[in-house]
């Protein structure tokens, strides 16, 4: 079960047919995301398996799951923002129940879900699911 913020994106995407505008939307989400403190860009937060640099800093408190992240690639940063919408604010038990690949598939961002390892979306999702397991 995804968060309402993610459902809002799904709704928006229904009105955007053009891939260029979908990319524009995802990139804008990334730009709007809160900056990640450089002090958090440490090896422990680095997600490997991405061709660009990706960091995720996950926090779990009062049973609430959330993370912040950053990447030097704008599309990847936008995908981090989409994942934030999908997960942030969920109870850990709810976060555990999210099927991220299936949810992102609803956005038609299928290129990024394919076997292509280089964009690292799968690695990011693995990092998140491992932390709530």
């Amino acid at each position: 079960m995804a968060s309402q913020a993610f459902e809002d994106i799904v709704d928006d995407f229904e009105f955007i047919d053009d891939w260029e505008d979908r990319y524009r939307y995802v990139i804008e989400l990334g730009k709007a995301m809160d900056d990640m403190d450089d002090a958090l860009k440490v090896e422990a937060n680095k997600v490997h398996g991405c061709a660009s640099q990706v960091w995720l800093h996950i926090t779990k408190s009062d049973d609430q799951f959330s993370f912040i992240g950053d990447s030097d690639a704008m599309i990847v940063k936008g995908l981090i923002a989409v994942l934030q919408k999908l997960y942030n604010g969920l109870a850990i038990s709810d976060a555990r129940g999210v099927n991220a690949l299936e949810e992102l598939g609803r956005l038609g961002l299928n290129d990024h879900l394919s076997a292509q390892r280089s964009n690292g979306l799968r690695s990011m999702i693995e990092r998140i699911t491992a932390s709530v397991a």
């Binding site: 891939w19 260029e20 990319y23 660009s52 990447s71 704008m74 599309i75 990847v76 290129d111 964009n119």
Partner: protein, 406 residues
């Protein structure tokens, strides 16, 4: 006159679409596409002519051996080598340079001896020498390029000292497209008694090569960049160097006799080709080289020069694009980044949606990227089957990338 539209018809893949757009294949520096004659030759070799080579006395083994061995002569002709026995068939440049590192350099170098190389070498012409640094204490001496990406041959020659045993240099940068005057380098190196290895992975693709004229000791090429199958390639090794070289990989085919206490190797170049080789790949490689020679490498070079000039002018006109390297003598390879925060992977993702294939990343050239102070770039690398319209498609898509990422 070179007819690009007729030539494109030889390559079935060029008529496909990608993401709903006509494919614009600009990743030729990584690997070239294959003409129908090569695809047919591979199919025919498996369907009608296949058996192991150099072994059986039966009909098919003889046929496959004849086909395979004929490629040695084709490569010699392609490279302008005088004697086909100076050609070792292999899986590509990486294997060729590793063979020289283990078989020749390790035999002829000791701790403190130097190898001179340029900062714009591909990792295939760096990592094998690092192996020697790690294992034998060989010293790597680097020669910089200037800020336009030119490599001054004299700077390479000047880097040669009394302990230098080899110069290993590319014929053309896979990132900047810089063409290197390997003839001048060889002349200067030989004057000091130092052999020269040329990485011809890119150089041999874009212009005629004549190793006799260059005078180099080793010249390595890769089949899959020359319209041949992946896993094919060759290296030219001058007779004198071949005599100094020990086999690098041991196994079947490279021996005359094997006993419990000694082995007798096959004659060169066979002793450098152990085990069952890429038989069909090599047969396809020969057909690819014949295809290129029929088109005419001089005609290919002239057409590509025209394409390069046009691309340089059209890409140079984009004020949001940063082209890496504007060397005086440049082949059809362009690396670039964009103004703003767009990463090379962002750019290539957007170009891909437009059906345009480029490479993004480090291009297996870490020292050059360090030298240029960037972590990644996009690379559009052209072949003789690319067109002026494809340059326009690239420019158009770059405008979009700038719009989305800027």
């Amino acid at each position: 006159m070179f007819d690009v539209n007729a030539t494109r018809k030889d390559f079935p893949i060029l008529s496909r679409t990608v993401n709903g757009k006509p494919l614009v294949y600009l990743d030729n520096g990584a690997s070239s596409q294959k003409p129908q004659v090569v695809i047919d030759a591979v199919t025919k070799a498996y369907a009608e002519e296949y058996a192991n080579v150099h072994r059986g006395l039966h009909f098919l083994s003889n046929l496959a051996t004849e086909k395979y061995e004929s490629v040695r002569g084709i490569v010699a002709k392609f490279l302008g080598a005088r004697d086909e026995d100076e050609i070792v068939l292999n899986s590509g440049t990486t294997e060729g340079i590793n063979m020289v590192a283990y078989g020749w350099a390790m035999e002829n170098m000791s701790a403190g001896d130097e190898i001179v190389l340029s900062v714009m070498e591909h990792h295939a012409n760096i990592v094998p020498w690092h192996f020697l640094r790690e294992r034998c204490g060989v010293v790597l001496k680097w020669v910089d390029v200037d800020h336009h990406g030119n490599l001054d041959p004299q700077a390479v020659i000047d880097a040669i000292g009394p302990k230098t045993r080899l110069v290993a240099v590319t014929h053309m940068s896979n990132v900047l497209g810089t063409r290197v005057d390997v003839k001048a380098i060889t002349k200067g190196a030989h004057a000091q008694g130092v052999p020269v290895l040329v990485d011809g992975s890119q150089g041999a693709v874009h212009a005629p090569v004549n190793v006799d004229d260059i005078g180099c000791d080793f010249y390595a090429i890769t089949g899959h960049k020359l319209c041949g199958p992946s896993g094919s390639g060759a290296i030219f090794v001058k007779k004198e160097r071949m005599a100094e070289m020990r086999p690098f990989i041991g196994g079947g085919d490279m021996i005359k006799e094997v006993h419990k206490d000694h082995v007798i190797y096959n004659d060169a170049p066979m002793k450098f080709e152990a085990g069952t080789p890429g038989i069909v790949q090599t047969i396809g490689f020969g057909v690819a080289l014949d295809y290129l020679m029929t088109l005419g490498m001089d005609k290919i070079a002239a057409y590509e020069d025209q394409l390069t000039k046009e691309a340089a002018q059209k890409l140079g006109a984009l004020n949001f694009l940063h082209l890496q390297g504007q060397p005086n003598d440049k082949g059809a390879i362009f690396s670039f980044t964009l103004d703003g925060a767009g990463h090379a992977h962002d750019i290539s993702t957007i170009l891909d949606k437009r059906g345009i294939a480029v490479r993004a990343g480090q291009h297996c050239a870490g020292p050059l990227m360090d030298h240029m102070g960037i972590t990644a770039s996009c690379r559009a690398s052209f072949a003789f089957y690319n067109t002026s319209q494809e340059i326009d498609a690239l420019v158009d898509a770059l405008h979009l990338a700038h719009d989305l990422l800027g």
